[in-house]
């Protein structure tokens, strides 16, 4: 125990003397939590719309004003021909073209049906999909309006219609930040835990100080604990800072209990620190450790369900996500903070991550034995 005390004192002194680490620990969570949730907004607004109105009737004008007043579309061009509108798309000034055919109003009134043409710039798939979805919905609504206006009272309805009324559970206002902030907190804890632990040990290899420790009576578990404990504490500090920022800036208060959250974070940190440790046993320089860590963290995050739902990934990706500790963390953060899940609800996630922690740390210790 006495040896461990000396190792810990040394480690904390080194950490608090390293300005770069302090900045990473204290400033990064705040900045990232302020910027990322606002920037990674999936709600598509301000879609640039070019209109080719060949009708110039009351109906066509009403349709256009209905679309532009929805808030999702911005009229970027009012063109005389489709080709003219296409030029706007080519210049990246318009995302979507709505073509209203000549005699739109009269044909519609006479024949009870008419066709509209929409062309979408699909370079940005998300924007294209959502944009055409929105505009379809608006046109549907417009259609509904027309039908009820034209319907003669007393006369039968033209046909049965189904109306869907949905209610949004857990996030009634579909507040995007409520969805993103917990995920980004998971990301922060992962980065701090994974990178700092891996780099720190490799730094000792580079400096040659690890050799000096190896010839001393310091045992491997002393050394590993001496590295795990400081970064485990720092990880918890970063997480606490994240919770504070989420509360102060976004007013997010976890619906579930803090005990549940911290229990999971504490176990998760063991897993991610073990991962950093394992990586460090394979590397001789900080550069190698950095690159390898970067590779894994990038995949962990992009495939962890932070930005895109795991449920909509192909089967092989879903399998891969099962081996991705970050995906469990992001899921648990959302479950506890937004939905108010308790320890019993997250028990599966907790046990899996505990399994990761055991396997990764054991792997690190075994692998150390070989390289020492």
């Amino acid at each position: 125990m006495r040896i461990l005390k000396f190792l810990l004192v040394k480690e904390f002194k080194q950490i608090f003397r390293n300005k770069a680490i302090l900045v990473v620990i204290m400033v990064m969570p705040v900045i990232q939590l302020i910027i990322l949730p606002l920037a990674t907004n999936f709600e598509v607004k301000n879609i640039a719309l070019a209109v080719v109105d060949n009708d110039h009737s009351d109906y066509s004008r009403a349709l256009i004003s209905k679309i532009t007043s929805s808030g999702y579309f911005r009229l970027s061009g009012y063109c005389n021909s489709y080709n003219e509108a296409l030029v706007l798309v080519e210049q990246d000034k318009s995302d979507l073209i709505l073509q209203i055919p000549p005699h739109f109003e009269s044909v519609l009134l006479r024949e009870n049906s008419e066709r509209l043409f929409i062309a979408v710039n699909a370079i940005n798939g998300v924007k294209a999909g959502l944009g055409s979805g929105y505009i379809n919905e608006i046109i549907q609504q417009y259609n509904q309006q027309l039908r009820s206006k034209l319907q003669v009272p007393g006369k039968f309805n033209l046909g049965p219609t189904i109306q869907i009324q949905s209610s949004n559970w857990y996030n009634p206002n579909l507040n995007y930040q409520l969805f993103m902030v917990p995920g980004i907190m998971a990301l922060l804890v992962t980065i701090v835990g994974g990178f700092l632990s891996a780099l720190n040990i490799v730094k000792e290899k580079e400096a040659g100080t690890i050799e000096q420790i190896n010839v001393s009576p310091v045992k491997k578990y002393h050394f590993v604990l001496g590295k795990l404990i400081p970064f485990w504490i720092l990880g918890n500090v970063v997480f606490t800072l994240g919770l504070l920022v989420a509360f102060c800036i976004y007013g997010i208060v976890p619906l579930g209990s803090l005990i549940t959250l911290y229990t999971f974070v504490m176990v998760y940190l063991l897993a991610i620190l073990g991962f950093g440790l394992l990586i460090s046993t394979f590397c001789d320089t900080q550069q190698q450790a950095m690159l390898i860590m970067f590779f894994f963290i990038m995949i962990f995050i992009l495939m962890g369900g932070l930005f895109t739902s795991i449920d909509s990934m192909p089967d092989w990706a879903k399998m891969a996500a099962k081996f991705n500790p970050v995906s469990y963390f992001i899921a648990v953060m959302r479950m506890v903070i937004i939905k108010g899940s308790g320890l019993y609800d997250i028990r599966g996630h907790l046990l899996t991550v505990l399994g990761f922690a055991i396997v990764l740390n054991a792997g690190a210790i075994v692998n150390y034995r070989k390289t020492f």
């Binding site: 006495r2 000396f6 040394k10 050799e211 420790i213 010839v215």
Partner: protein, 245 residues
């Protein structure tokens, strides 16, 4: 005479390559033992086995009476080690380094204080105690590294090219520290490429291609090879090496 290092047919193979080929020698208590050899002759590998950092492929060896196969933890408690790569913590002060390296050997707080103060006094570094190690000149760092390597009063200290890149005056001072430690009964096991330093040793072994090619006092070696200096002795032996660098 008590023998603190006993080596018998110690061998280390890496695959087909025999880095250390059945070396046999003894080192007496309080002796300054020079361990010479060209680059790649197997010195560092041999030293790592003696320190318990690497398990031998075959042969026997005991360090301070402890077996290099089974009792590496006891060996580590009884030796000091200073590598050719400078290995104090740059981002800790002189005092903090002393406390840390004394502490991990399980020395009591009172002893850490006393040994640390003695060390600073001996090196004349009392004023530097609170300075970062990174701010010290290399020569001072090396002297400090040596003193920290023996702060727990080990039976044997292993020095792997301790004076590389150090100026002649500091080297002389460094050897004064080594003599002082030897006078206190610490056995010194040192590798070096400086042949004037070899003359400072009580006995010298010269490794060629993983084998001990010669082992005697410097004066006997010079006589044996009809040479005037250790330089000539070394050259005579090392040029027969088949192994490249």
């Amino acid at each position: 005479m008590e023998q603190v290092i006993v080596c018998n047919g110690l061998t280390k193979r890496f695959g087909d390559f025999t880095a250390v080929d059945s070396i046999t020698f003894e080192v007496n208590k309080g002796e300054i033992f020079g361990f010479l050899g060209a680059n790649g002759a197997g010195k560092t590998t041999a030293m790592r086995m003696l320190c318990g950092l690497s398990t031998p492929s075959s042969g026997k060896a005991t360090i301070a009476g402890f077996d290099v196969y089974k009792q590496t933890e006891q060996i580590k408690k009884n030796i000091g080690y200073m590598s050719q790569k400078f290995s104090l913590y740059d981002d800790l002060t002189v005092q903090e380094n002393i406390t840390f390296f004394a502490g991990i050997y399980g020395i009591s707080d009172a002893e850490i204080k006393k040994n640390g103060d003695d060390l600073l006094l001996r090196l004349g570094m009392q004023d530097q105690a609170k300075k970062m190690v990174s701010s010290l000149p290399l020569g001072w760092k090396q002297k400090l590294a040596f003193s920290t390597a023996v702060i727990h009063k080990p039976k044997i200290v292993f020095l792997d090219e301790p004076t590389g890149g150090v100026d002649p005056v500091t080297r002389r001072q460094f050897w004064e520290l080594i003599y002082e430690a030897a006078d206190n009964g610490i056995t010194i096991f040192v590798t070096t490429h400086y042949m004037d330093e070899a003359e400072y040793c009580k006995r010298v072994s010269i490794m060629v291609d993983g084998k001990v090619a010669a082992l005697d006092t410097p004066s006997n070696l010079k006589e044996q090879f009809g040479a005037n200096t250790m330089d000539e002795v070394f050259y005579h032996l090392a040029r027969e090496a088949k192994r490249g660098e």
